[in-house]
Amino acid sequence: MSADIVIVDYAVIFTVGSLFVASLSLSKRATIRQSLAFYASLVVLAASLAITLLNLSIYLLFEPKPSYTNLFHVDPLSYFFALTVQIVSLLVILSSKNYMWSDRNLAVYFSLLLFSTLGMVLLSFAADLLMIVVAWELMGIPTYVLTGLRKDNPFSNEAAIKYFLLGAFSSGILLYAISLTYGLTGTTNLIAVLQALQTSAIHLDPLTLLTLALFIAGFGLKMSVVPFHMWIPDAYEGAPTTISAFLSAGTKKAGFVVAIRVFVVALPFLSVNWTTAFAILALATMTLGNVAALTQRSVPRMLAYSSIAQAGYILIGFAVATEPAKTLALIGVLFHVFNHAIMQSSAFLAVAAVDRTTGRVSLDSFASLWRRMPITSFALAVSLLALAGIPPLNGFWSKLVLFAAAIQGEMAWLALAGVLNSALSLGYYAWVIKRMYIDEPTGSMEQGKISEPPVISAVLLVATAIIIVVGIYPSLIYDLAKAAVLALG
């Protein structure tokens, strides 16, 4: 199947779907604005997931060559990311049934989620710098609105403004980097950039370095790399918690796929520079994320910092993504991206359930939660243990691969920093678990059992099942990631 047809499928389904869902908000009847919008979004997403799975299995069964057009790559890497972000979207949309139901703009909410998902899917396939910018904006702009969806909540407004400003900066920086690339190589197609760099003598002049730095800064804002992380905690705390899950598990991952395309595929000849830069960024990101997470009193904020720290682990893979550790490092990146998407959405959605039912998300309000919300507590505990990298849960395996890649790539100090950070992170992950399971409830709180929101509970159980199944049978994702990396060549 040619690359264009695949992409057209997605574009048509999502565009028609989101426009239809958005138009539902004009209806006067609440059931149409709510139920129809919800089910229509589910249908859209299910259809696109079906296409992805179908195409991926066709690809894996018949092993065709990756196909290219001027704008898109269709290879296992694109499918891998498309699959991951669509799973996250599905989990988020499902959970919104309980979490966002009473919102007046529900139809618009779903429509924006679908648009942003389309942006992420296109980003997974994009092979041209201009296409990357278009998809990047398509992914980003709806999320600015979604972050500020609670108009009457000042935190939500502040988060949206902060996120919007920094997001606009990142787009600008990205565009600047792209125009410099065009100036250097005369093209915006990634393959052509690679060829141009191979043949020409451009290596270490200041302009190249500037381009690299601008790319890192532009992508880094979405990838939550220190020092471009400042918006993350505020945005994740102020946004509706489902949107925090979407941002952390979805859009952030899209940053990684373009980073792989640009740095590993297009710019390998400048390796000396960016590997060291990524190593330093990885160290700073995970350390700052973990240390800051230790001191947080609000659980979404803690998860936000934890999400920053997890980005640091993924960056370890970038730091050693050159021979001899290239294959292992990229497998580790993909594997951890997938695992992190599942773990982080599970954690955020569990917090969304707590927020929905108790209206409180401070760490103290989680005391003795397991008596009141056993399913939510269990899912949160499992996802936190997985984030900490306790075997046999999925997070352990991908961290193992990343650390092994670091040692193989002769950056053993980075692996050491990684494991020490993991140990540090257990400090706050276990603290939440201690709150939920060990601490007595504080005086004034309700003690009765809360009826847990049914759809979120189901979503949490599915996410927990994925965490455990991938943990027990890691080859499932590992092999897929390996296929994706090997196809990159």
Binding site: I390, F396, A404, A415, V419, A423, L426, Y437
Partner: protein, 498 residues
């Protein structure tokens, strides 16, 4: 070779069985107690079969009941690979035995949240058996970490007044140790040809510089568990706060993971580095022994004293294994290494009865403070009897096999360097503080206003069961040494000695 996957059964019967036990417990709590007793007895029976078969064949040095290697994470050297030799078999035997006794003891001592408690007990049992028979370093690590989770909840949920602090401290300490150990494993994997995590394929192939680094990493990982003195501070807190049956698991089994790791990984895989730098480990071992003994002497809390006893006793394991690997003669090596394994086995049983006893005493007298416990001989004669019998096991006097194991370790150490004969002071110190404790509690007059109640006969029998293996092994030490000695000898020879 048997076709039944005996080892997998011993791991997964408890792990999978824990779910029905939990569900039964939700129905009626008594059912959870009975069902977990049945499961632990089944596992014990299986481990007796396994041990018996190994003993009859006299093949303690090679791996038997091997399952696998089945690829788990293909392409990354992670296999499902199990097997037992003399070291694993003896530790699995004591693990399954202690599990039965702990379940029995918990009937009296654990009163709340029973379903989840027995669920965790079985999870713990299955994963610790997994630790002792994994032949793949990552599989080993996976089980090693699973053990942490039930233990965290045991201490945190069922513990004493400072349980939250103790649970967090335990978790962080051991987790830091284990992730550093994991780095060592990855190092071994990457820089050995062939690239593998499988222990039998790694023996004798690891380059020396990797051995050095991996030894340092493993020393931290296993040293936290054992515990070796600078890393020991989690232990007294965890022990004091944990409920008595869990202290038995902690001291009896969890600490053995450290000792097992030292022998399996440091002596087995990193033999050359261990041999060359044995003196460092021996020095830490002796430091641990003296520290444990001296600090135990001044404790007021009976349970804390017992906890520090186990630090003291675990020092013997470190001393014995590394004295053995660097011994000048094969005889000395067998004394050292076999003595260390023997000591682990004996300590598990001896510390089991002592901790359980501290739980009963706390329940009957309302205090564990040695100064406040008076006149036990009159006030609770049965308890006093068991306390004396148990203390004798802790002291290592020739009434129990703990005497033999300590003696073997010291002999092994002397065969390396005569100055190590100073360690003879350790049993002396141990005897001193135990006798002093008995003098103050058992032999003191009973104050008039205090009325204790004594333990049931069933509890007393349950406790005396711990002493059976100690007694048996004093008379027939070859029951254990028969399968451990060949292993010690082969470890020594593989390290280039004799």
């Amino acid at each position: 070779m048997l076709d039944i996957p005996l080892l997998s059964l011993m791991i997964f019967i408890p792990i999978i069985g824990s779910i029905p036990v939990y569900l039964l417990g939700r129905l009626r709590e008594r059912l959870a107690e009975l069902a977990s007793l049945v499961i632990t007895i089944v596992v014990f029976a299986l481990s007796l079969c396994m041990y018996g078969s190994l003993y009859v064949s006299k093949e303690g040095a090679s791996f038997r009941f091997v399952e696998g290697p089945y690829s788990w994470l293909g392409g990354f050297g992670v296999d499902y690979y199990l097997g037992v030799d003399g070291l694993s078999a003896s530790l699995i035997l004591i693990s399954s035995l202690l599990s039965v006794l702990v379940v029995l003891g918990s009937w009296d001592l654990i009163t709340e949240k029973k379903p989840i408690y027995y669920f965790l007990i079985l999870l713990f049992e299955g994963s610790i058996i997994g630790v002792f028979c994994s032949l793949n370093l990552i599989l080993f690590y996976v089980f090693w970490e699973i053990v942490l989770i039930p233990m965290f909840f045991f201490i945190g949920v069922w513990g004493g007044p400072r349980r939250k602090y103790a649970a967090m401290k335990f978790l962080i300490f051991t987790f830091v140790g284990s992730v550093i150990m994991l780095l060592g494993f990855i190092l071994i994997y990457l820089f050995t040809t062939p690239n593998t995590f499988n222990i039998p394929e790694l023996i004798g192939k690891i380059p020396f510089w990797v051995q050095l680094l991996a030894s340092a990493a493993a020393f931290i990982g296993f040293g936290v568990k054992l515990p070796v003195v600078p890393f020991h501070t989690w232990l007294p807190d965890a022990h004091v706060e944990a409920p008595a049956p869990i202290s038995v698991f902690l001291a009896g089994l969890l600490l053995k993971m450290g000792g097992y790791g030292f022998i399996r990984v440091n002596l087995g895989l990193l033999a050359e580095a261990s041999k060359q730098y044995a003196w460092i480990f021996i020095a830490f071992g002796i430091l641990t022994m003296f520290y444990g003994a001296l600090v135990a002497m001044v404790q007021r809390d009976l349970k804390r004293m017992i906890a520090l006893t186990s630090i003291n006793h675990m020092g013997f394991v470190l001393l014995g294994s590394f004295a053995g690997i660097s011994a000048l003669t094969a005889q000395g090596a067998v004394y050292g290494i076999s003595g260390a394994v023997f000591q682990m086995f004996n300590h598990a049983a001896a510390i089991g009865i002592l901790f359980m006893l501290s739980g009963y005493i706390h329940e009957q007298a309302g205090t564990r403070n040695i100064d406040e416990l008076k006149g036990l001989r009159v006030g609770m004669p049965k308890t006093a009897l068991v306390l004396i019998l148990g203390s004798l096991a802790g002291m290592g006097v020739p009434m129990y096999s703990s005497f033999l194991s300590e003696w073997m370790v010291i002999l092994g150490a002397i065969s390396v360097n005569r100055w190590y004969a100073l360690t003879v002071l350790i049993p002396l110190l141990t005897v001193a503080y135990f006798l002093w404790m008995i003098k103050r509690t058992v032999l003191s007059p009973l104050p008039e206003h205090i009325h204790y109640h004594d333990m049931h006969n069933r509890a007393m029998i349950g406790l005396l069961l711990y002493l059976v293996p100690l007694f048996l092994l004093l008379i027939f030490p070859s029951l254990l040494l028969g399968i451990v000695d060949p292993l010690s000898l082969s470890l020594y020879q593989a390290a280039g000695g004799g």
